[in-house]
């Protein structure tokens, strides 16, 4: 039991930190541009596939640097030549533009790399068990993922709190118009923020690619969870996104490792109707409902606290 708790906590924190790598970019983009980037998970996928391709040509370490830069450049281009154009048509048009973009990116990835998973391997340097707890080997690569995401998290914190550009971004989180009035080149800041945000998502993609499955449906699988994180944390709140990322990471990881079901817990009390179509509810295990946990959490949060956990702004 203790083993399960330790391993699941580690995995949960890891998944949560990965989510936060993406959710942070999404939140900052949303706060500054007012648009929720529907294609954000697609940049995560692009990162994974670019990472795969570049690691084939040059090895994993160059890929870790080049793939996010490439994805970030594409992101900046999308902001400059796409989003800025649709901006005058309102937020719905912007959201629809990123929705169409997500669709197109998935199609393009399918055309180039196919529909089946690609063979994106953990680099040989990190392919060993880091430590053993209670007979379970914990892979070093996962520790590496955890360290990278924590390092980026700390780096982001320092940039946001200590530098001038961070100051502007922070100001734009709460008073986006005021920042424009103060004479900053808002267009360039937007492009930069969009580029950095998508590059962060791509970093998450490169480091998650070898550990999870690198496949053309990975954006479609992760995207909705990402939006749940942002809504549960409170739209436009960075601390909220952090809390929600960890929460959802932990909830999902713990749920996967649990095998209990209603019939297991109340087996002797099995009611007569349990043999009808309700048998599904009666017999389903916690592990099986793990994929819907984030959405259940979303509905609960919406009923109990519509603003999100730490949200203050109403959109």
């Amino acid at each position: 039991m203790l083993e399960l708790i330790v391993i699941s906590t580690l995995n949960g924190v890891l998944f949560g930190m990965l989510l936060f790598l993406m959710a942070s970019g999404l939140t900052v983009i949303f706060s500054m541009l007012g648009v929720l980037n529907f294609a954000h998970a697609s940049f995560y996928m692009l990162g994974a596939f670019f990472g795969f391709q570049i690691s084939r040509w040059l090895g994993f370490w160059p890929a870790l640097l080049i793939a996010p830069l490439l994805a970030g450049a594409i992101g900046a281009g999308v902001e400059r030549y796409g989003l800025r154009r649709v901006h005058r048509n309102g937020h719905v048009a912007e959201l629809l533009f990123t929705f169409g973009l997500a669709f197109v990116i998935e199609e393009v990835v399918q055309i180039i790399w196919g529909k089946s998973p690609v063979d994106f391997r953990v680099p040989a340097l990190l392919d060993f068990p880091a430590f053993t707890i209670f007979s379970t080997n914990y892979p070093a690569y996962k520790m590496f993922m955890l360290l990278v995401s924590i390092a980026i998290f700390i780096g982001l914190l320092i940039v946001l709190k200590k530098t001038r550009i961070g100051l502007i971004v922070q100001a734009a989180l709460t008073h986006p118009h005021m920042v424009g009035h103060l004479g900053h080149n808002v267009g360039r800041i937007f492009m930069l923020v969009f580029g950095v945000g998508t590059a962060l998502a791509a970093v998450a993609g490169v480091i998650a690619g070898p550990a999870l499955v690198t496949q053309s449906n990975m954006a479609g699988l992760l995207g909705p969870i990402l939006f749940v994180v942002v809504v549960v944390g409170g739209l436009g709140s960075l601390p909220g996104a952090f809390v929600a990322s960890l929460l959802i990471g932990l909830v999902q990881t713990f749920a996967v490792s649990m095998n209990g079901s209603l019939s297991g817990a109340f087996g002797p009390l099995s009611p007569a109707y349990a043999s009808t179509w309700l048998a599904d509810i009666w017999g389903v295990t916690v592990a099986q409902i793990a994929p819907i946990m984030p959405y259940v959490l979303l509905v609960l949060i919406l009923i109990l606290r519509p603003m999100g956990l730490l949200g203050t702004r109403d959109t």
């Binding site: 796409g82 649709v86 937020h91 719905v92 809504v231 739209l235 179509w277 599904d280």
Partner: protein
């Protein structure tokens, strides 16, 4: 007070306008009746049925997006649940020999959609704008994932099926042949379109528009925007349920794809491409997208990519959709200055088409090298055969694409100038705003 209302109310329409209005619906009914006489083949009947279903679904979606300003990414939930309940209903009805004929059954789907919209809508519509979009996505994922868990009811991956011919017969119709299904879909389409049009003319429909345009002022007037959004959501769920029911009857099967993100995305594409600003927009969009998805898949391997690119192009260049583009020209037509636009359109069309052709050519060549590199390089796309390995083709694609783009950019600025001239003339005549 009563004086104000009287003076504020629009004048009653003249007899001629009334005649025009009802004549339009009558004409639509006659066209629907006569269509199978002209295109009687099985394939076209199936296409018409699909279009009818898509029209109801898109119009129901536009109650949310166009009329109330709520962008939903999960509208297929109510469509799919309506479909599933109808399949179960047909099975129960035929097993128990209940005296309910098939034409009434879509109502069950509608009521299912309404019930689930009433249940899930209260939470979803608490917030509007971006938050609503994300919430609708989350709720849709919740339902779609649950459908895969509740295997007995939703039938898992395979879905559940039913036999529509086993119900009570009306006038000797057993609804086996596609022509009878066509008439069923056509009748329900007409009813649903009229009902949804009527809804836009009610005070509720007007309040929906007000909530879309300025929710804060709606609050000042004394309405609760949340309640208005909720009511619009319920109506939208009802009509989506009818569309889902008709789809389930048409295919005699309901599976988890009915509820999924692809279905929600398709209805969003259809509605937006058609145009959300006018009532007729989603109808145009439904017809266009159904033909496109049926036609493109024969013409090219990567039709979904073209589909996505068309959608992005509409969002970027024609946010009013197809109907928005057409309706833009109405003031010019009235002012008689439309003819000034035509030469510039004709000039702009040529390089634009060249650019598109170049784009398609390069795309198909790239697809050939990435998807099936080992195959014969003589490929066929959009009915045109060419050699993807030939450098001439590459050069032609590049020239068409880049040259077309450069020339098209110039010509479209001319179109812009011509447009300004034409509208300023129309404005002088007091027609254009």
């Amino acid at each position: 007070m009563s004086e104000i209302t009287v003076s504020a109310a629009p004048p009653l329409p003249a007899a001629a306008e009334k005649f025009k209005f009802y004549g339009l619906w009558l004409a639509a009914a006659i066209v629907l009746l006569l269509l199978p006489r002209i295109f009687g083949s099985g394939g076209s009947l199936t296409t018409f049925s699909l279009i009818g279903i898509s029209i109801i679904f898109s119009l129901s979606y536009n109650i949310l997006l166009g009329q109330t300003g709520m962008l939903s990414f999960g509208h297929a939930v109510y469509y799919g649940l309506g479909g599933f309940l109808v399949i179960h209903a047909i099975n129960i009805l035929s097993a128990n020999k209940l005296p309910i004929p098939l034409p009434v059954v879509p109502l069950i789907g509608g009521l299912t959609g309404l019930a689930f919209a009433a249940l899930l809508g209260w939470v979803s519509t608490q917030r509007s704008g971006t938050a609503f979009a994300m919430i609708s996505l989350g709720v849709a994922e919740l339902i779609a994932s649950s459908a895969l868990i509740l295997r007995t009811f939703f039938g898992g991956e395979a879905g559940i099926s039913a036999n529509r011919t086993k119900l009570l017969k009306l006038f000797g119709w057993n609804f086996g042949p596609q022509i009878q299904i066509y008439y069923l879909v056509a009748a329900w389409t007409l009813i649903a379109v009229i009902a949804m049009y009527a809804l836009t003319r009610t005070p509720l429909g007007r309040m929906c528009n007000a909530v879309r345009d300025n929710p804060e002022r709606v609050q000042f007037v004394g309405y609760n925007p949340h309640v208005v959004r909720y009511l619009a959501f319920c109506f939208s769920g009802f009509f989506a349920g009818i569309a889902g029911a008709l789809a389930a009857i048409n295919f005699e099967i309901a599976n988890s794809a009915y509820l999924g993100a692809v279905q929600s995305g398709t209805v969003l594409f259809a509605t937006y491409i058609g145009g959300i600003g006018f009532f007729i927009g989603p109808i145009v969009g439904a017809i266009f997208v159904t033909f496109l998805s049926l036609g493109l898949s024969d013409l090219t391997q990567v039709w979904q990519l073209y589909f996505g690119l068309i959608f992005i192009a509409v969002v970027l260049f024609a946010p009013g959709g197809i109907t928005g583009l057409l309706m833009m020209h109405r003031p010019l037509l009235k002012a008689g200055t439309l003819s000034r636009m035509l030469p510039s359109y004709a000039i702009a069309l040529l390089p634009t088409l060249a650019m598109i052709a170049g784009g398609i050519l390069s795309l198909e060549t790239i697809v050939h090298y990435t998807v099936n590199p080992g195959d014969d390089s003589h490929i066929k796309a959009f009915g045109v055969s060419f050699d993807a390995a030939s450098p001439y083709i590459w050069a032609m694609a590049a020239i068409l694409l880049i040259g077309g783009y450069l020339v098209a950019r110039k010509t479209w600025t001319w179109v812009g100038h011509a447009w300004d001239d034409a509208t300023s003339v129309a404005r002088e005549k007091g027609i254009a705003p």
